[in-house]
């Protein structure tokens, strides 16, 4: 079990902007030997300076190691930090679809009341707007198609300006999740294309 001091120590290190993970190594006598930080998207040398200041306050003898996860990602992976689905629900009583998305550590919520298919897609777009996306397209169609393997949902998004429609397809346990995942599929394709360009 961690001591409250060690918990606060780790909390302070994690509060530094860009720190993803903290590992605290101990010597045999229980003293802290080294602290390894994994960082993402921030200047590792600046983090090292601030982390060293904090580490010195608690455990003056401990060394500080900073590893930058940004380097481990290829440029394209860095750009395409994917929008992930956390939750998609349809409430049969209210007729509302609620979608929760996560992007780069932030959570966006969206709600729409147009049934499971359109509602799922619209709630996803609303959640994306909640995440701060300024979406340059609108929802054109959401259809469920019969296949030998089930009922996948296809979502079509159309740009406000000129450009090709974007399609996404997904099949999950229920329509609202399928519609949400298909919308994200279309968005992720759009992002991939955008990052390549």
């Amino acid at each position: 079990m961690m001591s409250p001091t060690e918990e606060d120590f780790e909390l302070e290190l994690r509060s530094l902007s860009g720190v993803l993970n903290v590992e605290i190594r101990h010597r045999e006598n229980g003293d802290v030997d080294s602290v390894t930080l994994v960082t993402l998207g921030q200047d590792p040398s600046a983090i090292r300076v601030m982390a060293t200041q904090i580490v010195n306050l608690y455990y003056a003898e401990a060394s500080v190691i900073v590893e930058d996860a940004t380097k481990a990602l290829t440029p394209r992976e860095v750009q395409v930090v994917r929008v992930a689905l956390v939750r998609a629900e349809f409430n049969p009583t209210t007729g509302n679809c609620d979608v929760e998305l996560s992007f780069n550590g932030r959570v966006g919520l969206g709600r729409a009341g147009s049934g499971q298919l359109f509602g799922g897609a619209e709630a996803t777009l609303a959640a994306l707007r909640d995440l701060g996306y300024n979406l340059p397209f609108y929802l054109l169609t959401v259809i469920s198609v019969a296949t030998v393997r089930g009922w996948p949902v296809i979502v079509t998004l159309r740009p406000f300006s000129d450009g090709a429609d974007m399609f996404g397809i997904a099949q999950a346990d229920n329509d609202v999740t399928s519609a949400t995942m298909a919308t994200l599929d279309a968005l992720n394709r759009f992002l991939s294309k955008d990052s390549v360009e």
């Binding site: 079990m1 961690m2 409250p4 060690e6 918990e7 606060d8 780790e10 909390l11 302070e12 994690r14 509060s15 902007s17 860009g18 720190v19 993803l20 993970n21 590992e23 605290i24 390894t36 994994v38 993402l40 200041q53 010195n56 306050l57 590893e67 930058d68 996860a69 380097k71 481990a72 990602l73 992976e77 930090v81 994917r82 992930a84 689905l85 956390v86 939750r87 998609a88 629900e89 996560s102 992007f103 780069n104 550590g105 932030r106 959570v107 999950a172 346990d173 999740t177 949400t180 995942m181």
Partner: protein, 274 residues
């Protein structure tokens, strides 16, 4: 290792929820009986998850408005940069082998999210956000407790009030960013200058206070010397004035002690201006 996020909804709202066992809440209760929910709880839960499903590895990725994405690995193990990159930053629980039901992973993630939020809330309620030293509320409680001990058992302590000289002028001429940085450096120097058992706090804009345990009035000179040396380059930009009062010698009443230290501080400040 498969992320839970992309398929998080697949079983989370179905009948699987009924089969959920309350081990997680028992862990919470156990943790609460000895301490408060915090980072330690997250590691406890991950270790239990590993044991419960005979996993070789488990990682939870959390998101927090103040922190951004955070990763925790069972056993407090390191996460290499490559491993972190392969997991990504979407919130979820990642297990090896991938045998934990979604509902249980969602519950673990939610409980861990709660723990880190509570830890941060607790820390923020007690500390000044700019300097990470104690805030006024924590300081007042500590001063009250020290006065009670001093009055009851005669334990001596010294209250030191410190005020930055000309801070407003620096803020006005060089900007608030420089001013904030100066306050941060001063807070850091204070943390480095106090001994374990002492309490350093920011009690106002550029006003700081320290309770030096087991110290009589003249003992504060050691602290002020350390503070000066730890200020480093910031000393060129700003100086400070202190006022002290000792308990039980001067008073055992917190308000009176504060008043005496404050009066001495302004006396010194006035003297330096004359």
């Amino acid at each position: 290792m498969n992320p839970t996020v992309d398929g998080a909804s697949e079983g989370a709202f179905g009948p699987e929820q009924q089969q959920y066992e309350p081990w997680l809440f028992q862990t919470m209760l156990d943790e609460l009986s000895v301490s408060e929910l915090g980072i330690g709880f997250i590691y406890s839960v991950l270790d239990l998850l590993v044991k419960r499903y005979a996993l070789s590895d488990a990682v939870v990725v959390l998101s927090h408005e103040s922190f951004g994405p955070q990763m925790f690995r069972a056993g407090g193990q390191a996460i290499s940069a490559e491993f972190a990159a392969s997991i990504g930053t979407a919130p979820g629980v990642y297990c090896e082998p991938d045998v934990v039901p979604n509902v249980e992973r969602d519950a673990v993630r939610t409980a861990c999210q709660l723990a880190i939020s509570l830890h941060l809330a607790r820390f923020s309620a007690a500390h000044d956000p700019l300097t990470n030293i104690a805030n006024r509320r924590t300081f007042d409680s500590a001063l009250q407790a020290s006065c009670v001990r001093s009055s009851r058992y005669g334990w001596a302590f010294t209250l030191v009030l410190a005020d930055l000289n000309g801070f407003k002028a620096i803020n006005d001429s060089l900007g608030h960013a420089i001013g904030d940085d100066l306050l941060r450096q001063f807070g850091l120097a204070m943390r480095r200058s106090v001994r374990s058992g002492d309490v350093a706090a920011r009690i106002g804009g550029d006003e700081f206070a320290v309770i030096l345990s087991n110290a009589d009035g003249h003992d504060s000179s050691g602290f002020t010397d350390r503070l000066r040396s730890h200020l480093g380059s910031a000393r060129e930009l700003v100086g400070f004035t202190i006022g002290t009062a000792s308990s039980p010698r001067d008073s055992t009443d917190p308000a009176e002690l504060f008043r005496i230290a404050d009066a001495r501080l302004y006396e010194r400040k006035g003297a330096s201006h004359r």
